[in-house]
C-alpha cells in the first residue's frame, strides 16, 4: 500500500514536471532582457521583472480582462440554460426523432468555422451587433453542440431507476431534472461549464471576427495577439503578457476543480 502510494506520487510528480516544462520556459523568458531572448540561453543572465510593468503600460489589460470575464461568464451561463435541458431530453426522455436530432446536433460541430463565418457575420451585421461581444454570447442561448453532446453522454451514465423513482413520486420532468438529475450529474456539468468558460477565455477567432473594429470590446486573446504582432521581436514582453493572461484562469480552475470532488461526495448515494 505504502509502495503504491510512493509510486503513484513519483509518477505524478515526473509527469507534472514534464507538463510544467514549457510554462517554466515561458516564465524564464519573461524575465530576460530583450536581446537575450534571441539566444539559446534558458536562464536569464539578468532579471527584468519590469517586463511585466511594460505590459500594463502598453495595453489596457484591465479593460481586456473585464471583457474576457464578461464573455466567458455570459457564454457559460447561457450555454447551461439551453444545453442542460436539451441534453436531458436527448438522454432521458423517449420521443420520435430523438436520434435524428442528436445526429444533427453532432453535425453542427462538423461545419468548419471558416465556412459558417460569412453568412453568420452578415446576419449579425444586419442586427447592428458587430463590434460587440453579443454575437458570441447570444447564440449560446440556443445551445452549444459540443456541450449538449458532452452533457448528454454524462447524463447517460446516471441509472434510469433514480428518475423513475422520482416520477413515481409525482415529479414532473422539469422537477426531476432540477431536483434529481442536476445534483447527481455535478462533475459532468462542472466539466462542461469549465470547458465552455476556458474555450471562451482563450477564443481568438470569434473576438477577432466580431470586435476587431471596436477596441473597447477587445478580449485578452485579441490584445495578446495584436501585442505579439506589434512587438514581434520582444519575446520577453510577449511571454510576460501570455503568462499574465493565464493567471486568472489558472486560479479559477484551481478552485473550480473542487466541484468535481464535491460531486463525488454528493453522488456517494448513487449505485
Amino acid at each position: 500500500m505504502r509502495l503504491a502510494f510512493i509510486a503513484r506520487h513519483s509518477i505524478a510528480i515526473a509527469l507534472g514536471a514534464m507538463f510544467l516544462c514549457p510554462i517554466v520556459f515561458l516564465a524564464l523568458t519573461s524575465f530576460m532582457a530583450s536581446d537575450q531572448t534571441l539566444t539559446a540561453d534558458l536562464w536569464p543572465a539578468s532579471w527584468h521583472p519590469g517586463n511585466y510593468a511594460e505590459v500594463f503600460a502598453r495595453t489596457p489589460l484591465p479593460r481586456y480582462l473585464l471583457n474576457t470575464a464578461l464573455y466567458a461568464t455570459g457564454a457559460t451561463l447561457f450555454m447551461l440554460l439551453a444545453s442542460v435541458p436539451a441534453a436531458y431530453a436527448l438522454s432521458k426522455l423517449r420521443w420520435r426523432g430523438r436520434t435524428a436530432i442528436f445526429v444533427a446536433i453532432v453535425c453542427m460541430m462538423m461545419l468548419p468555422p471558416q465556412v459558417t463565418t460569412v453568412p453568420l457575420y452578415l446576419m449579425w451585421a444586419d442586427y447592428g451587433l458587430t463590434g460587440s461581444l453579443w454575437p458570441l454570447v447570444l447564440p449560446m442561448l440556443l445551445g452549444d453542440a459540443f456541450s449538449i453532446f458532452l452533457l448528454r453522454q454524462f447524463l447517460l451514465t446516471i441509472p434510469d431507476e433514480y428518475l423513475d423513482a422520482a416520477r413515481v413520486d409525482g415529479c414532473g420532468e422539469w422537477r426531476t431534472l432540477l431536483r434529481v438529475v442536476l445534483p447527481m450529474a455535478r462533475p459532468g456539468i462542472a466539466a462542461a461549464a469549465m470547458f465552455q468558460f476556458f474555450y471562451a477565455w482563450n477564443d481568438y477567432y470569434g473576438p477577432l471576427l466580431y470586435t476587431s473594429e471596436n477596441e473597447s470590446a477587445w478580449t485578452l486573446s485579441l490584445g495578446l495577439a495584436s501585442f505579439r504582432t506589434l512587438h514581434a521581436v520582444e519575446w520577453n514582453i510577449v511571454s510576460a503578457a501570455t503568462l499574465l493572461t493565464m493567471v486568472p484562469i489558472v486560479v479559477v480552475f484551481f478552485f473550480a476543480q473542487k466541484a468535481f470532488v464535491q460531486g463525488v461526495t454528493l453522488t456517494g448515494v448513487k449505485g
Binding site: 503513484r8 509518477i11 505524478a12 509527469l15 514534464m18 507538463f19 516544462c21 520556459f25 515561458l26 439551453a82 444545453s83 435541458p85 431530453a89 426522455l93 420521443w95 436530432i101 445526429v103 444533427a104 446536433i105 453532432v106 453535425c107 462538423m110 461545419l111 468548419p112 468555422p113 471558416q114 465556412v115 459558417t116 453568412p119 453568420l120 440556443l142 445551445g143 459540443f146 453532446f149 458532452l150 453522454q153 454524462f154 447517460l156 451514465t157 414532473g172 462533475p187 459532468g188 470547458f195 476556458f198 482563450n202 481568438y204 495578446l224 505579439r228 504582432t229 514581434a232 501570455t242 493565464m246 484562469i249 489558472v250 480552475f253 476543480q257 473542487k258 468535481f260 470532488v261 453522488t267
Partner: protein
C-alpha cells in the same frame, strides 16, 4: 383520468419545452449555413464580386487538385494517430489522478496548465523546447548520449512532433475522463473485488462500461477537431521555419517542412482567404463536412447502445 392521446400530447409539449431553443439553434447555425455552403460550392465569388453560378466546375477542379491529396493524406494520418494517442494519454492520466485523495487539486492544475495556455502560446513554447540545435530537449538527450531528431524541422518527425504537442495538452480530455471516472459507483468496484476480480477485470467490467458514453464523446469530437486541425500546424510550421508568426506572411510557411504539416483546413484557408476563391473554399468545406459526417455516423452506429 387523462386519456392516452392527452398524455401523448402533453409528452410532446414536455419534450418541446426542453428542446425548443436548440431546435431553433439547429435552423440558424446548421441548416442555414449548410444550405448556403452547398449553394456556394457551385459558384465562384470573392468578397468583392457577387456569387456566379458555375455548375460542377469547382467539383471537377477538386478531383484534380494535388494539394487536396497531400492535405487529405496528412489530415488522415493525424486522425489515425493523434486521436487514439490523446485518448490513451487522457485515460491514463485521468485514472492516475482519480486514485489520489490528497494533493489531487495541485496535480490536476499542473496537468491542465498546457491546455489552459492559449494554443498559439503553447505551440510557440513547445516548438522552442524542441529546437533541433539548441533546444532543451535535444540538449538533454545529448547528455544521455542520444542524438535527438530535427523534430518540427524534419519531414519525418514533424507530424509525430505535433502528436507530442497534442499529448502535452491532453489535460482538457483528462478533465472529462476524470469527471466520468469519479462518477463510477464505488459499490460496483467493491462488489467486483468481492467476486475476486483483479485490476484488469475491474477495468474491463466496471470502469469501461461506466465511462463508455464519455469515451464515445471523446472519439467523435476528437475526430471532428482533428479534421479541423489548423492553429497548431500553422504556428508550428511558421516558428520552425523561422518566418513571421503572424500577419499575411504566415500562410507562406504552411506545411513546413516539405508539406509534412500541410493539413486540409490550411488548404481551405489559403484557397478562401489568400486566393479569395470563396466558391472553391466552400466546395472544400462541403467535402470536409461530408467526410466528418460519414466517419461520425459509422462511429455512432458501431456504438449504437449509447444512442
Amino acid at each position: 383520468m387523462t386519456t392516452l392521446a392527452q398524455r401523448r400530447r402533453r409528452d410532446r409539449l414536455t419534450v418541446l419545452s426542453f428542446m425548443a431553443p436548440v431546435l431553433l439553434g439547429l435552423l440558424v447555425f446548421l441548416v442555414y449555413p449548410l444550405v448556403a455552403s452547398v449553394y456556394f460550392s457551385f459558384t465562384t465569388f470573392d468578397l468583392v464580386n457577387a456569387p456566379r453560378w458555375v455548375g460542377l466546375r469547382n467539383w471537377e477542379h477538386l478531383l484534380q487538385d494535388p494539394n487536396v491529396r497531400t492535405a487529405a493524406a496528412n489530415t488522415a494520418w493525424l486522425v489515425v494517430v493523434l486521436v487514439p494517442a490523446r485518448m490513451l494519454g487522457a485515460l491514463a492520466t485521468g485514472m492516475l489522478l482519480a486514485r489520489f485523495k490528497r494533493g489531487a487539486g495541485l496535480y490536476r492544475t499542473l496537468f491542465y496548465l498546457p491546455a489552459l495556455a492559449p494554443p498559439v502560446a503553447a505551440t510557440l513554447a513547445f516548438v522552442f523546447l524542441f529546437k533541433p540545435g539548441t533546444g532543451p530537449v535535444n540538449t538533454l538527450l545529448a547528455q544521455i548520449g542520444v542524438q535527438g531528431p530535427l523534430w518540427f524541422n524534419s519531414p519525418e518527425w514533424a507530424k509525430p512532433s505535433l502528436v507530442l504537442l497534442g499529448l502535452w495538452g491532453v489535460g482538457d480530455l483528462m478533465i472529462i475522463f476524470l469527471a466520468a471516472l469519479l462518477d463510477v459507483p464505488k459499490e460496483q468496484y467493491e462488489a467486483a473485488s468481492l467476486d475476486g476480480a483483479n485490476v484488469a477485470h475491474q477495468f474491463r467490467y466496471v470502469t469501461l462500461p461506466n465511462i463508455a458514453p464519455v469515451l464515445l464523446f471523446a472519439a467523435v469530437t476528437g475526430v471532428i477537431q482533428t479534421l479541423q486541425y489548423f492553429t497548431q500546424a500553422a504556428v508550428a510550421a511558421s516558428v520552425a521555419s523561422g518566418q513571421a508568426t503572424t500577419g499575411g506572411g504566415i500562410s507562406s510557411t504552411f506545411g513546413y517542412p516539405e508539406g509534412s504539416t500541410f493539413t486540409y483546413p490550411l488548404w481551405l484557408y489559403v484557397v478562401g482567404f489568400r486566393y479569395g476563391a470563396l466558391g472553391y473554399a466552400n466546395t472544400l468545406a462541403v467535402v470536409l463536412f461530408v467526410v466528418a459526417a460519414a466517419v461520425t455516423v459509422v462511429m455512432l452506429r458501431r456504438f449504437r447502445s449509447f444512442l
